[in-house]
């Protein structure tokens, strides 16, 4: 790790202004991706602006229609929240299976979606649940937020402050883990709200994506058999030693059906 300036503000406005002043600075949320890459010297920011003391970014609020999670809320807090488990059990379950215990105790929802790792779990939830990403300057719809691999709609120095999840009628997340990292090799979140169904896939392609064909079929009939014959093209899939494009494309179907089964039986 190279030397860097460390800032630890207590207000989000101070955090943003500290980052604006930095030559090549980064926000530090849970540090579960950024710090390992700095340790390997793959990343060498001039400044780290830690958000760990910005209390206004933490916490979970649930009203009848939505679950709002502060960007600095740790995965473990979401996983352990009885309110989240009541409102959107699929979300608590997803959070409970991110990384390992150490990662969950430090990693945050804001850090995860801002980093937009193509294999991260949260992007699938944000997209399938049609969440809104709230920043220090605007509200961004999930469909507009994730742009490409490690690329989001966030502007320089824009700070995610919270994520608002509308409460669906039914939802579930089915994840097939990459054996070594246990990131999602393929993870599929399925959510039904009234007559609308959203299917979001992470891990398989360079960025999280929806599967409109499945959504249409499931809107007609919310059963695994409804998407039985829907094949995903391997063309846009990623390929690595843990799974080629054919395998990932195949797993999207398998995991989607398992997610629908789980959601329907919830």
């Amino acid at each position: 790790m190279h030397a860097f300036e460390y800032h630890r503000p207590e207000k989000s406005a101070d955090a943003v202004s500290a980052l604006k002043k930095a030559e090549d600075g980064r926000f530090l949320a849970g540090g579960q991706s950024l710090l390992p890459s700095m340790k390997q010297r793959l990343s060498a920011p001039s400044d780290l602006v830690s958000l760990s003391r910005v209390n206004e970014l933490r916490g979970i609020k649930v009203d009848g229609k939505a679950v709002t999670i502060g960007s600095m809320t740790r995965h473990a807090e979401v996983a352990d929240s009885a309110d989240v488990a009541r409102a959107i059990p699929a979300l608590a379950e997803l959070a409970s299976n991110i990384g390992d215990r150490q990662v969950r105790n430090l990693g945050t929802i804001g850090g995860s979606i801002a980093n937009d790792d193509p294999s991260a779990d949260y992007p699938a939830a944000v997209l399938a649940l049609n969440a809104t990403v709230v920043t220090d300057r605007r509200r961004i719809a999930a469909d507009d937020f994730f742009v490409d691999m490690f690329e989001t709609a966030l502007e320089p120095e824009e700070l995610v402050t919270a994520v608002e999840f509308p409460v669906p009628d039914q939802a579930a997340y089915a994840k097939f883990e990459q054996p070594a990292s246990r990131f999602a090799l393929v993870g599929v979140m399925v959510a039904r709200s009234g007559s609308e169904v959203r299917v979001a896939v992470t891990g398989a392609a360079p960025s999280v994506f929806r599967v409109p064909e499945m959504e249409k079929a499931l809107a007609k009939e919310f059963k695994a058999s409804a998407i039985e014959g829907i094949n995903i093209s391997p063309d846009e899939m990623m390929a690595d030693m843990h799974g080629d494009a054919d395998y990932r494309a195949h797993l999207v179907g398998v995991m989607a059906r398992r997610a629908v089964d789980a959601a329907a039986n919830r």
């Binding site: 190279h2 097939f176 054996p179 070594a180 990292s181 030693m241 843990h242 054919d246 395998y247």
Partner: protein, 793 residues
């Protein structure tokens, strides 16, 4: 049996300090004025070094010195030696290219040592290392054994004609070919034994210190055998007198073979400490461990089994290509030859076996012994062949094994590949394993799984291993450049406690407990009064260290010999004090008795008088009670066992779950059943890891290590493993005084074919017949898809 003696599950005495963070590892040691080393490593698999510019690094903050291969050459520092010379099938010695501790002219794998930066802190050394400017001329790299033997392959060593280190053979070729000529059925398999990265929990580390006052060196290092490191480094690399070099290997957090070898970092640090006049310390980070610890396995094999129509084995033919990596690591040439070809008889009375091994160089990290070392590779070949033969002949998996087992009344049994098995009862072990695995109920379980859409399979592996490599004279004929004995010393203190000095080294095995059990039982003193010392060349006798499951069989036997000497000397002391003839003194359980009387002396009483010799036969006997012994075994030991694995496969994802694993092993006599069970558990975890998860991969074009971290190299985790069902049986070893055989590697040897055989059994209904390790979900899914598309066509 006492509750601390031989056969008792004494809790590990060392665990208190390990579990409470009070262990003392190499990285825990710091010396006044110490500096830190960081190694500049090659980012390329194969390149010529045009120039190295160290000027900027030398000026960087905190830098004490920067050295390259030229600096070592100027001091006439030698290359890292190889401890085993294999003779090829034509009687010629293997090719043995130079292995400079810092690169000379060329780099040959990603991670190869190019330069060392020594600075006031570890971070300054690392920062400065980035300023060392190396001008490389890139060369094509060769990674796989099959590519390495191609005529147009890049040559790893310019002074060799090709990449072949040797072509070695064992067994009678003509007899074997004749067996195949008369066979009714031949089973042929192409197998890959996947390359593994050892991953001990403690990375390698070293701290070297030159003391100008007494012109002596001390090297603290993570070694399984400090005396071997001292010998190789001082005699062959640095040209230092051995009595001026002390090597200390304190607590070591796992080795699995990877810490047997003498590594470049140890030699460079020991040389550099004198150059800079200060202690020099280095601790590998995990990325360096992945790149530079000697890897394991990496074989490609075609194997054939000839049978008559009843499934009786007539002959076996094996052709293997084995990867040596870029340089010959300390014992590399012996692993894929002597420790591999000799094991191909397995538990079977196959009358004719011929094996040919082509060892090749490649632009990858050196490959050497890794838990099992040659024997897992051999077992994988034999047990995959046997199971495939049963499938082809429509025979039961157990039945084909029973039909070909060496019968229990045939021991000692000479195999056609040079070994003489002393004892065993393979059928009884298999019976016990089948009972425990509830083989009878398997079909019902298979049907139940099928009703849930899962495929269940049962896989067998009835393995043999050879431990305690010996005797030295035979090993010497086979090319060993070192002895294979072990040394021990029993030192009584005047008040009756004992310090045991052993040449074996414990880095997880629990010797401080098991060796103390043996000594306390033999001397009749409380286990608390026995201290076991290992790992310091200034304290222990010249020992060969710990590898190959040899410690209790060879190291323990050396202690038994020393104990015998202590007891015999004590008998003379007791005879003098009890005023009886030596022949009339009986010894039992720590007490000397005059035969037929109640006159007696305890061992501590005798020890006291040996050090306070007021009533003592000084004219015929020296005072003191301190005896040492060297033990050179007359034969290998031959642990053997039956492993049965039950798996369930999800055909939609290809995911394999090991639902049950039974291991029944014959380790001869067992000193501590709990520790043995722990050793088996660890071995099974590694064996299942190889079968399902672990795979070291280099990019075939660039030679970059693709699996360079835990993000891509899959270590087995607790939830990948079932609750093991482990049991032991015993046919005592006849070639050592304890009747022990060794248990450290059995799990890693037996498990891989059991797992793969189980998967193939599960997927046989789907037509899957070929599957390589590791059986990852993607591979299994592809195998199912290929088989079903083949069936459809």
């Amino acid at each position: 049996m006492s509750d601390t003696g031989i056969g008792a599950s004494v809790k590990r005495r060392e665990d208190d300090r390990f579990l409470t963070g009070r262990g003392h590892y190499t990285d825990d040691i710091s010396l006044p004025h110490q500096t830190w080393a960081y190694f500049v490593r090659s980012p390329h698999a194969h390149a010529r070094i045009r120039s190295i510019d160290t000027a900027a690094a030398r000026k960087a903050p905190g830098v004490v010195a920067v050295f390259t291969g030229d600096d070592l050459a100027a001091d006439e520092i030698g290359g890292l030696p190889c401890g085993w010379q294999v003779t090829d099938k034509h009687g010629e010695p293997m090719k043995e290219p130079a292995h400079p501790p810092l690169a000379q002219g060329k780099v040959r794998y990603v991670g190869d040592h190019v330069a060392v930066v020594i600075a006031e802190s570890a971070w300054q050394a690392r920062d400065a290392a980035e300023m060392v400017d190396v001008d490389y001329e890139m060369l094509p790299a060769v990674v796989s054994v099959d590519d390495a033997v191609k005529s147009d392959a890049a040559r790893v060593h310019d002074d060799l004609d090709d990449n072949v280190c040797y072509v070695w053979e064992i067994g009678e070729k003509a007899d074997t070919d004749a067996a195949f000529d008369k066979a009714d059925h031949v089973t042929t398999l192409d197998l890959v034994n996947n390359r593994l990265i050892p991953n001990a929990i403690e990375p390698r580390a070293a701290l070297a210190n030159y003391s100008a006052g007494d012109d002596a060196y001390t090297l603290y290092t993570t070694s399984q055998n400090p005396h071997v490191t001292r010998l190789l480094m001082s005699a062959f690399v640095l040209n230092l007198p051995e009595h001026k070099v002390r090597v200390v290997s304190p607590d070591v957090g796992g080795g699995f073979g990877s810490k047997i070898f003498h590594y470049a970092e140890e030699a460079v640090l020991t040389w550099a400490t004198r150059k800079v006049g200060r202690p020099v310390k280095w601790t590998a980070d995990r990325a360096e461990s992945f790149l530079c610890d000697a890897h394991g396995r990496d074989h490609v094999t075609r194997a054939e089994l000839a049978m008559d129509k009843d499934g009786t084995f007539l002959g076996m033919r094996v052709r293997t290509r084995a990867n040596m990596g870029a340089y010959l690591s300390t014992f590399a040439p012996s692993i894929c030859s002597i420790l591999y070809g000799t094991l191909l008889a397995g538990q079977y009375a196959t009358p004719a076996i011929h094996c040919e091994v082509t060892a090749v160089f490649s632009n990858t990290a050196p490959v050497d012994a890794y838990r099992g070392a040659g024997r897992p590779e051999a077992t994988y070949v034999v047990e995959r062949l046997v199971s495939e033969a049963a499938r082809e002949l429509g025979m039961d998996q157990a039945e084909i094994r029973r039909r070909n087992f060496i019968p229990k009344d045939a021991f000692p049994y000479d195999t056609p590949v040079g070994l003489s098995y002393d004892t065993g009862d393979y059928e009884a072990t298999l019976d016990a394993a089948m009972r425990q695995a509830q083989v009878d109920g398997f079909e019902k379980r298979r049907q139940e799984a099928l009703s849930r859409g899962r495929y269940r399979g049962l896989g067998y592996s009835t393995y043999i291993e050879a431990c305690g490599l010996a005797p030295s004279a035979m090993a010497g004929q086979l090319g060993a450049r070192a002895g294979l004995y072990e040394a021990g010393e029993i030192r009584f203190h005047p008040t009756g406690s004992v310090t045991v000095f052993t040449g074996s080294h414990s880095h997880g095995q629990g010797h401080e407990t098991t060796f103390a059990q043996v000594v306390s039982e033999r001397l009749g003193i409380p286990i608390e009064n026995v201290e076991v010392v290992h790992g310091d060349t200034d304290r222990i006798p010249f020992g060969m260290g710990t590898y190959g499951s040899r410690s209790i069989a060879v190291g323990g036997s050396a202690l038994m010999k020393a104990l015998d000497k202590v007891i015999e000397k004590g008998r003379k002391i007791a005879a003098h004090q009890l005023e009886a003839a030596v022949e009339d003194i009986e010894y039992d359980d720590g007490v000397y008795r005059v035969s037929g009387t109640d006159k007696q002396l305890t061992m501590p009483e005798v020890a006291f008088s040996a050090y306070v010799p007021h009533n003592y036969p000084l004219e015929t006997l020296e005072p003191g009670l301190d005896e040492s012994a060297f033990y050179d075994p007359t034969n290998f030991t031959y642990p053997a066992g039956s492993h049965i694995c039950e798996v369930e496969v999800d055909p939609e994802t290809g995911r394999v779950q090991v639902v049950n694993f039974v291991a029944v092993d014959d380790f001869g006599n067992v000193i501590n059943p709990m520790i043995v069970e722990g050793q088996v558990h660890g071995g099974l975890a590694q064996g299942i890891g190889q079968a399902l998860l672990e795979n070291c991969q280099y990019d075939p074009e660039s030679g970059q290590l693709v699996t360079g971290s835990y993000m891509d190299y899959t270590m087995p985790r607790a939830d990948d493993l079932p609750t093991f069902e482990v049991d032991t049986r015993c046919t005592p070893c006849t070639s050592n005084p304890l009747g022990v055989k060794g248990c450290g590697e059995a799990g890693a040897i037996g498990a891989p074919p059991a797992v793969i055989n189980a998967i193939l059994d599960a997927l046989a209904p789907l037509g899957v017949s070929r599957l390589d390790m590791p059986a990852t979900p993607a591979r299994v899914w592809h195998a199912i898809r290929t088989a079903s598309s083949g069936k459809a066509a």
